[in-house]
């Protein structure tokens, strides 16, 4: 197993764990945590390909990962704000109980 495939396997495992969390948990905050794990796994892929790619001095993969981290931070802020707004409205963060389109 080459070093690159080792990192890619770890990224795939973290992605699958995050996806399982996002699909199976009932708490909305835990679903957001799963989404964050998936984003982090994608960043790990980008950095690994940057490190073992043909032109690391061009910084392309590194820049992509840095911008991805910034976008993920914005996503976390808005997502958790939405969770708090929904909690204030429905008094729960249980996604199985949020089954009404009309408040």
């Amino acid at each position: 197993m080459t070093p690159l495939s080792g990192f890619l396997l770890v990224a795939a495992l973290v992605f699958a764990i995050g996806l399982a969390g996002a699909l199976t948990r009932r708490n909305a905050i835990l679903v957001l945590i799963g989404i964050e794990l998936m984003l982090n796994a994608a960043n790990l892929n980008l950095i690994a390909f940057w490190r073992y790619g043909p032109h690391p001095a061009a910084l392309t993969g590194m820049m992509f990962a840095i911008f991805s981290i910034a976008v993920a931070a914005a996503e976390a802020a808005v997502g958790l704000g939405l969770v708090i707004a929904i909690y204030r409205h429905a008094r729960t963060t249980d996604l199985d109980q949020m089954n009404r389109m009309k408040g």
Partner: protein, 166 residues
């Protein structure tokens, strides 16, 4: 494949698994912080110092704190009454396992064309800064705009509605 890689990878995967499997939401937030730290160490292992420290600053410093705040602001989310997994958890687990199987198969059965023992790229923070204000200046400005919009949007969304008493 060094020994450090295996240790950090095991730590990261264990943190992620604990974040998904634990019952208490606060414990999940702590476990996901461990996973974030493990990913930052993997970035450092890949000689991406700037991305590693940005990961520590943004994820452990900001996102983990945000998650803990959200958990504390939604009080009854800490102790689930009837199970923490949704009714159709089996379908979700199946989808995740299938995707991991496909990704793992693709990684293990692809032919390596990239040089797998490339020299350590000598990238300094000064070079990254030059690239950020040179070649990548437009994405940088767009990210600045996005962060401002996201901040204002998050405040407006989480703001109490007018005329409503709690």
């Amino acid at each position: 494949m060094t020994f450090a890689f295996y240790v950090i990878a095991a730590l990261t995967v264990a943190g992620g698994l604990a974040a998904v499997l634990l019952r208490n939401t606060v414990h999940c937030a702590l476990a996901v912080t461990i996973a974030f730290a493990g990913l930052a160490m993997l970035f450092l292992d890949l000689d991406a110092q700037f991305a590693g420290f940005a990961q520590i600053l943004v994820y452990i410093g900001a996102v983990a704190i945000l998650i803990v705040f959200a958990i504390l602001l939604t009080r009854n989310s800490e102790t689930p009454r009837d199970g923490v997994f949704s009714r159709n958890w089996f379908a979700g687990l199946f989808v995740a396992a299938a995707i991991f199987a496909v990704l793992g198969w693709a990684v293990l059965h692809s032919i390596a064309v990239l040089p797998n023992h490339a020299a350590v790229p000598a990238v300094t923070v000064a070079q990254i800064g030059q690239a950020l204000v040179g070649r990548y200046v437009l994405p940088l400005e767009i990210v600045a705009l996005l962060l401002t919009a996201a901040m204002i949007g998050a405040v407006i969304i989480a703001l109490d509605e007018k005329g409503r008493t709690k």
